[in-house]
């Protein structure tokens, strides 16, 4: 779509193709027609990466404070673009353009960029004024030599990462017509202090903040759909009890302290209810509770282990794990009539389902070698895909709010860290780099 093959116009094989070629040629020739063009079809089964050139960010006026800021801004933005999975940045060593080249379109020599293979060119200038930062961004289509996007952003220097993330999302939105993930957040469990505590960070692993300091076992963090609350488990008062932290006010309350387990909260799509596993009746079953902790409904009543509920996007069904067939497998429960159907049949150990807003279910599956892979499946059992298969343990898949990325934990470096990848398993990127292990990610909108 973006790349036009000149040979295409000279094809005589089919009149229809010829006609299509002319139409697309016309669309490219007239800017008015091409202004709403989607460069990246992110709903396609496989998405080719755009080669993007990002020259050094240029200081344009303002004061001379923060000499290293330009490099920092560049790092944040090119990392955003790389993590999106839609771009492959071109090595700077290949650049032909001089350092003080102009930022604006009519003076740019686009041939210098097309000859090194760049399809997109991103030019950014910035200026500091006291504690304030202004960033100007222009994105060019190298082939046509024209500006696709121009944005000016103003914010605090201290919050430069957030400002750049915002601009990165503008780029993604322009090229794909969908919002990116640059402003999203992750929660996870880290054991760097010797105890398992819950932390949050930006989706790129920066801006780490401790949520708990229980000095006990804190685990299973689960963001509410609006990202304003965090449900999690902690043993700080003895058992596996459920807590709810308001991330805006910082107030934590204990939500469920029934004897036995109160674990694995799954938020309803609207964020008014939580499905979770309780075992105070002697066996682990799935219930729905209100945000005040009252039991609203019992969903399973079976002698087997029933855990890990995850709501469908319409809130009418739940994926959960049960060993009612003898080994842990993923099942789908229809809330209205309580009907339960088995979803996974491959393998002896399929757990931790997570249902995406795009109606795919990710889960962890033990393979023949005894290590764990991330898989995805349609809610009707079709289109099973194994996304990881590196011989290490890849576990705890959790979807991004837009359903296009998966965060997971992997011990592929020897200890567990958080990684993200796109929904087809491509572009697996390590996000956390703290000491110890980081596990159990949960993803919140920006």
């Amino acid at each position: 779509m973006f790349r036009v093959n000149p040979g295409f116009l000279f094809s005589h094989k089919k009149a229809l193709l010829y006609f299509t070629g002319i139409v697309s040629f016309l669309i490219f020739c007239f800017p008015g027609l091409s202004s709403g063009r989607i460069y990246i079809d992110i709903n396609a089964p496989s998405i080719p990466k755009f080669k993007i050139a990002i020259p050094d960010f240029k200081r344009i006026g303002g004061d001379s404070g923060h000499p290293e800021l330009g490099n920092e801004l560049l790092k944040v933005m090119s990392n955003d673009l790389e993590l999106s999975g839609y771009f492959s940045p071109i090595e700077k060593g290949a650049f032909l353009e001089e350092k003080d080249a102009p930022l604006t379109g009519d003076k740019i020599n686009f041939k210098d960029w097309s000859v090194i293979g760049a399809e997109l060119l991103l030019k950014v200038g910035y200026s500091c004024m006291g504690s304030r930062l202004q960033v100007e961004l222009r994105l060019y289509d190298v082939f046509w030599g024209k500006q696709i996007l121009g944005k000016r952003a103003l914010g605090d220097i201290a919050g430069y990462r957030h400002l750049i993330h915002k601009l990165s999302d503008e780029i993604i939105l322009k090229l794909t017509n969908y919002n990116g993930i640059s402003l999203t957040k992750l929660a996870y469990v880290g054991d760097g202090t010797g105890q398992k505590e819950i932390y949050t960070c930006d989706y790129d692993g920066y801006n780490i903040q401790a949520v708990t300091s229980d000095k006990s076992i804190a685990m299973l963090p689960r963001w509410s759909p609006d990202g304003k609350r965090l449900a999690y488990n902690s043993y700080k008062q003895g058992g596996a009890e459920l807590y709810l932290k308001d991330m805006v006010s910082g107030v934590t309350k204990r939500l469920s302290r029934r004897s036995g387990l109160n674990i694995g909260a799954g938020w309803s799509p609207g964020g008014e209810e939580l499905a979770l596993t309780l075992s105070d009746q002697g066996n682990s079953d799935i219930y729905v509770i209100s945000l005040e902790g009252q039991i609203l409904k019992r969903l399973t009543d079976h002698w087997s282990i029933d855990v890990s509920p995850s709501y469908s996007p319409d809130g009418k069904k739940l994926a959960f794990v049960s060993n009612r067939s003898g080994s842990p497998q993923v099942y789908i429960l229809t809330i209205e009539d309580g009907k339960v159907e088995r979803l996974t049949f491959e393998g002896k150990y399929n757990t931790s389902p997570c249902w995406s807003s795009l109606n795919r279910i990710a889960y962890t599956s033990m393979n023949e070698n005894g290590s764990f892979d991330i898989c995805t499946i349609d809610p009707n059992g079709g289109a099973v895909r194994v996304l990881t298969g590196d011989g290490w343990n890849d576990e705890d898949p959790r979807w991004s709010p837009d359903g296009r990325y998966i965060a997971f934990s992997s011990n592929r470096t020897g200890s567990y860290h958080i990684y993200i990848m796109n929904l087809s398993g491509q572009n697996q990127s390590r996000i956390t780099f703290q000491k110890g292990n980081q596990t159990s990610p949960s993803w919140a909108p920006g």
Partner: protein, 230 residues
């Protein structure tokens, strides 16, 4: 015949000597039985004599042992009475002090013995197969011992901690660990330990006994561990 004479001489000394000598006579006669073998009646007498004499001997030995055991406290009270004698004139309360400290010592000793037994009790885990919560015969044997100890110590309660190996997801393992703890709890209840003395908690895969990632570590981690509560 010299031997027999000596026995005659020893006859009236005391019961123990008598029976001991008779025992040896029995041994000697038994050794020389070939000569007397033809006479069945004589044989019967020998055997009877042998049996009776040995019974006498063992009885007297046992009596002697009991005697020595009994004399020990006597000497202790004797020491106590020396104390008593020297202090009695000045202060009568010193006697009670001596007795208290002795009781304390004994209590301490007893406490240490119980503490040792508790440590042994707590060090013995019950192990499980992968993704299983049923009790193996070995696990049942260990739990029977634990039930006996709990019956002997009715003031103690028990916390059963269910654990899993590190494979699999946190939530499933928490539920599995709970099942393992419950299995031990139910078994102990069936052996007569009341439910209110048996608490359970699951740590899933959060408290590994061995953090290594290999089959040996896995089997060590799939366990119920036990904590006694006073």
């Amino acid at each position: 015949m010299e031997e027999m004479l000596r026995v005659e001489g020893a006859w009236f000394l005391d019961g123990e000597n008598f029976s001991r000598q008779f025992f040896f006579i029995g041994v000697r006669l038994w050794n020389g039985r070939k000569k007397i073998m033809r006479n069945r009646a004589a044989m019967g007498v020998i055997v009877l004599a042998f049996v009776f004499s040995s019974m006498f001997w063992f009885a007297s030995c046992a009596k002697k042992q009991v005697d020595t055991l009994e004399t020990k406290p006597k000497t202790e009270t004797g020491e106590g009475s020396v104390d008593k004698g020297s202090a009695a004139g000045k202060q009568s309360s010193s006697e009670t002090i001596t007795e208290l400290s002795e009781a304390e010592r004994r209590a301490k000793q007893q406490e240490m013995e119980i503490a040792n037994k508790m440590a042994v009790f707590e060090s013995e885990n019950v192990y499980f197969e992968f993704d299983k919560s049923d009790l193996t015969p070995e696990a049942q044997a260990i739990l029977k011992k634990k039930a006996a100890f709990l019956q002997q110590n009715p003031n103690l309660a028990l916390l059963i901690e269910g654990n899993c190996d590190q494979r699999g997801t946190i939530e499933y393992n928490l539920a599995l660990g709970e099942r393992r703890a419950n299995a031990a709890q139910r078994f102990l209840m069936a052996l007569g330990i009341s439910e209110d003395r048996l608490k359970t908690i699951s740590y899933g895969k959060e408290r590994l006994a061995d953090p290594a990632n290999n089959p040996v570590a896995w089997s060590l981690n799939r366990r119920d561990s036990f904590k006694l509560l006073r």
